[in-house]
């Protein structure tokens, strides 16, 4: 862990054209203060990798509403009509990926694997243009690994070496994205002294985290 930053300082790390992985599922587990600060700073032409487009004005929906995103890789945008309109108009290039394939592609990127061999998508539109490999007599799609310049995580608790815990369904994509961002920034509901989080409760080891957001009020 390199240090704790204000949301503003964290947002300033993100240049135009950067790729961002953002944790969350329908905005649950998305780092809210960090998203606000990015919207305020307005970097442009971002690539966004996340499970879904949330709803307009919620979670990553704020980045989309603000016009900061030019490319989206996600599994579901059905509850964000704004995003659907931007896709249809061509304002945002959108790659739709089956959810299980998306999480495995991110994991493969973060764990140094060459890709994902999966039956999901075989014989559907998802197959188009993709390599197919036969293993032990069965055919599988080869899905490529995903990495990003930044992974932006929403956590429940952090300590000052960067260890993270997540709460209930706010885990979702966060633990996997922690592996796949060149720079990892985590926003936690609370930050506790080192030693307070038991080793077995750590879901993301601090060695993966570059920056925490400072506590609200600091």
């Amino acid at each position: 862990m390199k240090g704790a930053l204000t949301p503003q300082a964290a947002a300033e790390l993100i240049p135009d054209g950067a790729s961002l992985m953002v944790g969350g599922f329908m905005a649950v587990g998305t780092p809210a203060r960090l998203i606000e600060a990015i919207v305020a700073r307005r970097p442009r032409n971002l690539t966004l990798i996340c499970n879904d487009a949330a709803t307009p004005g919620k979670g990553v929906g704020k980045l989309i509403s603000a016009g900061l995103i030019s490319r989206l890789i996600a599994s579901h945008i059905g509850l964000n009509p704004e995003m659907q309109a931007k896709m249809i108009s061509g304002e945002v290039e959108c790659e739709l990926v089956p959810q299980g394939t998306l999480v495995e592609r991110i994991r493969a990127g973060g764990m140094g694997l060459g890709g994902v061999l999966t039956p999901t998508g075989l014989g559907t539109e998802v197959e188009e243009g993709k390599q197919i490999v036969e293993v032990q007599g069965r055919r599988f799609l080869v899905e490529t690994p995903l990495k990003a310049d930044f992974a932006l995580l929403g956590a429940w608790q952090a300590d000052y070496v960067g260890n993270l815990r997540y709460l209930l369904t706010a885990h979702n994509f966060n633990p996997v994205m922690a592996l796949a961002g060149a720079t990892v920034i985590a926003e936690a509901d609370s930050i506790v002294p080192v030693g307070v989080i038991p080793p077995d409760a750590v879901k993301t080891p601090g060695v993966l985290v570059d920056h925490l957001l400072i506590r609200p009020g600091l």
Binding site: F25, M26, A27, V28, G29, N51, D52, A74, S75, H76, I77, G78, L79, Q84, M87, I88, L96, P98, Q99, G100, T101, V103, E104, R107, T118, P119, T120, G121, L122, G123, T124, E125, V126, W156, Y166, L167, L168, T169, A170, H171, N172, F173, N174, P175, V176, K203
Partner: protein, 217 residues
């Protein structure tokens, strides 16, 4: 009893003690209302909980405990939170005993289309392709027709969700089992005749023995 309630009550009877079950949003989620708690069934929400409980009373919601539709839920005793990798590992690895999904079309090969209407509805497949490809058992819960057109078709005109043949289709008129030979008509809804079902169905239906009335949970 309206169409949706018939479907949900009939699907509920497919669920057996101790199963791990994923219910899609919308009509499939109604199935939980007819599954007795005493069965010890675990419901999974693919966003990351095994042991999904009912909606909490107002004021007792937790922002970090929701279902795949984003609605507030509770955790049943013995619940486990899991990340998306584990959640889809369970789904894709065949550990999910049953998924119940809505459908746009099912065809004579038993293939489901339920994620896209080109030019109209492009929401993304979410977890549907993984669920249909990976779950041990796939049950489609849908109304028999939409805007007067049969949803049980000869061959899907809409983009497929998976090549996998689904295991059962439950509508407000019939229970249909896709097999290698084609769509076998297994049950009819209370008071519905074989002729009514045939008239409402584009696909060929195979008769293989009796076609009793559905028993509803």
């Amino acid at each position: 009893m309206d169409a949706k309630e018939i479907i949900a009550r009939r699907v509920a009877r497919e669920i057996h003690p101790g199963m791990l079950v994923n219910l899609g949003i919308g009509l499939p989620s109604m199935v939980a209302n007819y599954v007795p708690a005493s069965l010890g069934v675990f419901f999974q929400a693919e966003n990351g909980v095994i042991g999904l409980g009912a909606r909490p009373p107002e004021g007792m919601e937790n922002l970090s405990l929701t279902d795949a539709g984003g609605g507030f839920v509770t955790a049943a005793p013995g619940a486990a939170s899991i990340d998306s990798a584990m959640s889809f590992g369970l789904i894709r690895g065949g550990h999910l005993d049953m998924t119940v999904l809505g459908g746009l079309q099912v065809d004579e090969a038993g293939r489901l289309a339920n994620w896209k209407v080109p030019g109209k509805m492009v929401p993304g497949m979410g977890g549907a392709m993984d669920l249909v490809t990976g779950a041990a058992r796939v049950v489609v819960a849908m109304q028999h027709a939409a805007r007067g057109e049969s949803k049980i078709v000869r061959s899907c005109s809409l983009p497929l969700t998976s090549l996998r043949r689904v295991d059962l289709v439950v509508t407000e008129l019939a229970v249909i089992a896709p097999t290698e030979a084609g769509l076998v008509l297994r049950e009819r809804a209370p008071g519905v005749s074989l002729e009514e079902i045939r008239a409402a169905t584009e696909a060929a239906l195979i008769l293989d023995g009796d076609v009793p009335e559905m028993i509803l949970a």
